[in-house]
Symmetry: C2
Subunit: 465 residues, 2 copies
């Protein structure tokens, strides 16, 4: 990653492919001058000024090079520091032909701009203090968001919700750290500027917040990647039919809006704004057949990775006693996952009988995957299981593994501080651990950073952001 | 296609998929009010005004609905009649998440906007007199353009080059038509306001222009769809290797610019800004084997559709005499296509010998598809064949089948006028044919139009344009 932050970068900011409009984006000290040098009034004869125009204005004209008009364009002007990157920037809205996109990029590349690296616009925004690091990371999450919940969490983080929480913790710690470091200057005199019991209380309180944030990462991870749901049951239980019902339904929602259909990943779906990730499995009953046992073992592996297990059975095939055996077996492997038991192949004629058969399993859902009877109820159950475990969208949720790692290290360092305080360690030893915790918290928002960290963060961005 | 032209339409204007930025576009009487109703200052608390702001300005804020911030956005404002459509319009630049795109579309759809039909923004521009019909059609061509030449032709048409040519022809004819129609009012008095010899000359001159435009359509069609090139030769001649060399080279050019790679259609390539469409064929030698004969017949069909035929042969396998036989056979089927003869599998050791062997075929190109020796020369030959047949980018070229059809009908009507003049037909009969020619010319630019025509034109647009 280039460290020069003033040279002019260019990239296509909109998605690949031909469309009505595409945006080519330039940022850097020469961005406006460069665009201006090819910019003419609509007639194509008179050159048009951009540099003396105000920011947040739009200008219509043509981009012309070598006597050839490349396109009629709208140029939006942003002047440092009042732009996304904090630098002079232009956004050129052109006709969305792939040919024109290429021509414009080539034009600017051949005249002093260079191709932006992934995330470089946002990195510049960070380097120019427009966003802190966790906010910058949330921009990538926001673009990747594919459900109401992941969108809300990323939006809150981008808008500084998480950052301000971290900032409060750091400010308290910094205050104590400086008092303790002051003591070191007077170490001959054996004074204590920092009240040890106050410090202990503060460390305990911060540790509590960190623990809560760390716990939220479990949820955050699930929000970002989808809640893993294992569908288990015997081969004839109707698992695939159920899966199709759930997924087809989702596809229908997506395609309600013409022009917005996206590639739907076969085994994911969004219900009420929550992303679920479904995993089909082989049957789970005990067997002496080795080949079948492999399939069963795989099913247990899937169950281990899931947050929710749907056990689906054919209500005509299974006796109440067998169901009990199956559930008992399942519960040995289910760990902390939530269990949903669903009786399949229910219809009006047999519903009452079957409900009587399984009357002592209160939690059984009676449905028919084929006729979609009560499948809506199943979805609501899934959503409620997620809700009850987890999410309050206004609460801060950590979704980023890097943040979780730093929070964990800061937490561990603070545990050392607590131990040190209990053992009445000298201030200089306490100061080391406090400093370490501060650095880790600082790295989350980018108050403490280095080139490698920035590179690893911004390379996961798309180009043009 | 809806005919209401004032209601507010909305669409995604940028390409599908997640990216740094996406643009949602609104046009219609309520476009600005609708955007304003959800638009808040960045803090999310204070509502922001848009309706009292000037056109061609950009506004930063958040779109919020039901207490949920959907995104931080930039809104560009355009006020009637100074917009693309001629109506009040806004372009909302949001984070390019597919989720956010959908949310914004749904927000506006649920509050009074409707989804734009394909091409509806441009149709409104036409209906509001911002573009004539041939210019509007060129917008779609421009977006679809994939080579320098198709781009230039579409750009010239969009900027009114073709329209102004048609307009001049119509103005002259209208002048005469009104004089002749004036005669009809005085028909009892047998006067001639319109000088017949002047009219004859005018019709001849206009017919000449129309003929030239009609001829340009042959070229225009080829520019738009690519120049069809048949590669023929025996199975071991190295046709596929040659094709790969040509196509791979093209791919390398495309991928020079990170982020601009597009789906390359396997058998198309752009050389020096000209689009070629390659068609591989089976061998072409005469055979008594029925199955093989079918393949050969197919090869002849491909040759018939091509503008250029490359005959490739293995220089080690074919004698000079056999080559003559092959070429003679080929020429029976080649029609007006240009022929390029290429000797393959040439290297330094054998080059002189082989050139001697085929010395009496002056036009043979000596190359090696495998080592890419002289393949560049082959490409230049293809480009020069195109140039010599065809194109002067400043000349008007008809690329649209609808236009060609109207030009042909106008031309035929004018031939009737000429015949009528020679036979000294009465003015009212002449007037009929002149009127017909005028209508056909008028339909090209949309001076004469109807709903069906508009529908058939604009439905081939992408949504959002």
């Amino acid at each position: 990653m280039k460290v020069n932050r003033d040279d002019t970068i260019v990239a296509l900011a909109t998605a690949q492919g031909s469309a009505a409009i595409a945006i080519v984006r330039l940022s850097g000290s020469q961005a406006i001058a460069l665009a201006e040098s090819f910019f003419y009034a609509p007639g194509g004869q008179t050159q048009k000024r951009l540099q003396d125009k105000a920011g947040y204005t739009v200008h219509f004209g043509v981009l012309k090079y070598d006597n050839t008009i490349i396109d009629e364009v709208l140029i939006s002007l942003f002047k440092a520091p009042h732009s996304y990157t904090g630098q002079d920037s232009v956004e050129i809205s052109c006709h969305g032909s792939t040919y024109i996109q290429q021509q414009l990029l080539q034009l600017f590349l051949q005249h002093g701009a260079r191709m932006a690296e992934p995330g470089e616009f946002t990195m510049r925004a960070f380097l120019n203090g427009k966003l802190d690091l966790s906010q910058a990371e949330a921009v990538a999450d926001l673009i990747a968001s594919n459900s109401a919940v992941s969108h809300q969490v990323a939006m809150q983080q981008m808008r500084g919700g998480f950052s301000s929480k971290i900032k409060v913790l750091r400010d308290h710690l910094i205050n104590f750290a400086s008092l303790i470091e002051l003591e070191l200057d007077f170490s001959e005199e054996d004074v204590e500027f920092a009240d040890r019991s106050d410090l202990k209380q503060l460390v305990a309180s911060i540790s509590g917040v960190l623990q809560k944030l760390l716990h939220s990462f479990e949820v955050g991870n699930v929000i970002k990647n989808g809640i893993p749901v294992a569908i288990v049951g015997k081969p004839n239980a109707g698992k695939s039919t159920l899966l199709n019902v759930l997924l087809d339904d989702d596809r229908a929602i997506v395609s309600e809006i013409p022009g917005t259909t996206r590639d739907v990943i076969e085994d994911e779906m969004v219900i009420d704004g929550v992303l679920f990730r479904f995993m089909d499995t082989a049957g789970i009953r005990t067997t002496t057949d080795v080949i079948e046992q492999i399939g069963v073992n795989k099913a247990f592996e899937v169950i281990k990775k899931s947050a929710i297990v749907i056990y689906l059975f054919d209500a005509h095939e299974l006796s109440s006693g067998d169901l009990q055996l199956e559930i008992d077996l399942l519960k040995e492997h289910i760990g902390t996952s939530q269990l949903v038991i669903a009786a399949n192949k229910i219809d009006i004629e047999n519903e009452a009988d079957l409900q009587a058969e399984f009357a002592n399993f209160e939690e059984v859902l009676y449905l028919s995957a084929k006729t979609q009877k009560n499948t809506e109820q199943l979805k609501q159950r899934l959503v409620s299981l997620f809700d009850s475990r987890t999410v309050n969208a206004t609460e801060t949720i950590v979704t980023n593994a890097r943040h979780a790692d730093s929070l964990r290290k800061a937490y561990d360092a603070l545990q050392n501080v607590t131990r040190g305080l209990n053992e009445q360690l000298a201030g200089d030893l306490l100061a080391l651990d406090i400093r370490y915790a501060l650095d880790e918290l600082g790295s989350i928002v980018g108050a403490v950073t280095n080139a490698d960290l920035l590179e690893s963060i911004f390379t996961r961005f798309c180009i043009g952001k």
